[in-house]
């Protein structure tokens, strides 16, 4: 049978993190009582006029720069006209032919090598207003629908990718990387439950047939409410389209672009009825808003404000600190606070590997268990750095590090204090040699065993030795005993 490639482009809407709406000063706070966050402007009342929120524009510009987009000198806003009860002006203020950014990209990687690293091209990212919410009657639309306009006018950034994605895994990685980037530069919380990140997918297939490659009609998939749902929807949709092609043989152009909704319960996509007239949006420049001119300086400033992006951090951690790609992304995925914590521990202890191990293995686990933020964590970066230093200069024997860590955690004390309270001090070599000699004298059979090659017999002595001096390093104790035992044999 023919094999096919799945061609996926994603259209993502993210709510920008502003206090007030895009064109009025109503709050954007999620979860308020219906219709308590509206005013003449976002109600679209006669006579009301929009004025653009500076922070929303700055966030959008910042994101465009972070996505390596081209930023034009001139951009404007247009009216996208359609009727829906949650759209009180009967048009959405959006951007049509001169969006504020275009032609960018986002790089995606998979440490587990499920796919090759790739650069996903971004077609455009533009700033627009959100619509309100229609609460439909579950019972198959028998009762009235309720309209809540609290969300109306919330600033959205629409980010459209080129059809560069080839699998659900790549699509999920793209969404995860996008979310990481947007939260990292703090332009959105990307909270999907609260709808601050929404995804639509455009999917079709390229099928190799005896008479060459053919493309199937494009289908837009909506209502995917989690990254998991996106994955499942795409995994369902591709084979479905293949079956349809086998039945109908329809190629792109044979059928109009179809819209299908993802039914998460049933795990299927379902066709949605769309009237042909609804596609004529009659875009034209909004005469109530003025264009925006973007200067080179503004773009440079936006770039400065970004700081180091997740991708840069990951590669630096690998190159500069020798972390594995996996560890690097584990840390970077935690966000600024953990990244800064890790960097400080590394700086002050001079030991990135240990810093990474403590953070990724112990600390992240503990934070989860006690649901704490790194800021609330009892062992501050300087304390952990001091502890790691103590281990490395021998003041804290590795085997007892965990005890010290526990103590620091429970008492919030610095490393030195923990070491003291545990009565840990260096055992000097001569004292240790004395101890070994005396133990061997008391246990001639062990000496005999060692001489007959049963080195492990020394193990039996470690327990007793530890009772006499808890600070001894078992490994060193073994070495010395072995030495002495051999000497005593050769001296005969």
């Amino acid at each position: 049978m023919e094999n096919y490639t799945t061609i996926i482009g994603l259209e993502v809407h993210v709510q920008l993190a502003t206090k007030s709406k895009l064109f009025c000063r109503c709050s954007t706070q999620f979860g308020a009582e219906p219709n308590t966050q509206t005013c003449p402007v976002c109600l679209g009342l006669p006579g009301s006029l929009p004025v653009m929120n500076r922070t929303a524009f700055d966030h959008a510009l910042k994101t465009a720069v972070a996505l390596h987009c081209e930023i034009p000198q001139f951009t404007k806003w247009d009216r996208k006209q359609y009727y829906y009860p949650d759209l009180p002006k009967a048009y959405q203020i959006s951007q049509y032919d001169l969006p504020m950014s275009s032609a960018g990209y986002l790089e995606i990687i998979d440490e587990k090598h499920a796919f090759e690293p790739k650069r996903v091209r971004i077609t455009r990212a533009h700033l627009e207003e959100d619509a309100g919410k229609s609460i439909h009657d579950e019972a198959a639309g028998k009762a009235d629908s309720e309209i809540d306009l609290n969300r109306t006018g919330t600033p959205l950034l629409e980010i459209v990718s080129e059809p560069d994605l080839r699998s659900s895994a790549e699509s999920k990685a793209y969404l995860q990387e996008l979310k990481l980037l947007l939260t990292h530069i703090e332009v959105s919380d990307c909270n999907m439950q609260e709808g601050s990140l929404r995804v639509d997918a455009n999917v079709n297939l390229h099928i190799d047939t005896v008479d060459g490659k053919i493309a199937t009609p494009i289908v837009e998939i909506k209502n995917m409410n989690s990254f998991r749902a996106v994955e499942r929807a795409l995994d369902y949709e591709a084979p479905r389209q293949f079956r349809v092609w086998q039945e109908t043989g329809q190629k792109i152009g044979d059928a109009p672009k179809q819209t299908r909704g993802w039914d998460d319960m049933a795990g299927v996509t379902r066709g949605q009825r769309s009237k042909e007239e609804s596609s004529d949006y009659r875009y034209f420049p909004d005469p109530d808003l003025v264009p925006v001119l973007i200067s080179k300086e503004q773009i440079a400033e936006a770039r400065r404000s970004l700081g180091e992006l997740p991708a840069d951090l990951r590669s630096r951690f690998v190159e500069q600190f020798g972390l594995s790609a996996y560890d690097a992304s584990v840390i970077v995925n935690q966000g600024h606070a953990v990244i800064d914590y890790f960097e400080q521990v590394t700086r002050e202890s001079g030991d990135a590997k240990s810093a990474c191990n403590w953070v990724t293995q112990d600390i992240l686990r503990l934070l989860k268990e006690r649901n704490q933020t790194i800021g609330e964590f009892e062992i501050s970066a300087d304390k952990l750095a001091a502890m790691i230093a103590a281990i490395n200069n021998g003041n804290l024997p590795k085997p007892r590090a965990k005890e010290a860590f526990e103590l620091m955690l429970n008492q919030g004390c610095p490393a030195e204090q923990a070491i003291r309270e545990l009565g840990i001090e260096q055992v000097d070599e001569s004292a240790l040699v004395e101890l070994c000699r005396d133990m061997l004298v008391k246990n001639p059979r062990v000496v005999a065993d060692v001489q007959s090659g049963k080195v492990q017999a020394i193990g039996a002595l470690i327990g007793q030795a530890k009772k006499l001096n808890p600070n001894i390093d078992p490994a060193r104790f073994r070495e010395i005993c072995w030495e002495l035992a051999r000497q005593s044999s050769s001296s005969e």
Partner: protein, 95 residues
């Protein structure tokens, strides 16, 4: 581009206007007249002329991102043809 009755019907759906046959007939004639008149614009050479969407050309008008009080819900719903004290009501949007 003479305007036909079926054009007028299509446009009336886009414009969400329910027009009687008489209205459709009359509008087909009137719009045709007006469109014929405005079509004279095609005589004007305009290559390279920047479109003028605003009467005065101002740029970069912004306001600071601060929350100001919204309307009380009663006021927001006061002009609604139908509401239930919390939301605007419309006939079932589904089905």
């Amino acid at each position: 581009m003479a305007i036909t009755r079926s054009d007028v019907e299509k446009v009336s759906l886009l414009a969400r206007l329910q027009l009687s046959d008489a209205e459709l007939d009359r509008l087909t004639v009137e719009l045709a007249q007006i469109v014929e008149y405005v079509a004279h614009l095609s005589e004007v050479p305009t290559e390279g002329i920047e479109p003028m969407a605003h009467a005065v050309e101002v740029h970069n008008v912004f306001v600071v991102d601060e929350v100001l009080p919204s309307l009380p819900r009663e006021a927001a719903l006061a002009n609604a043809p139908r509401h239930n004290e919390r939301a605007f009501l419309v006939p079932p949007v589904l089905g």
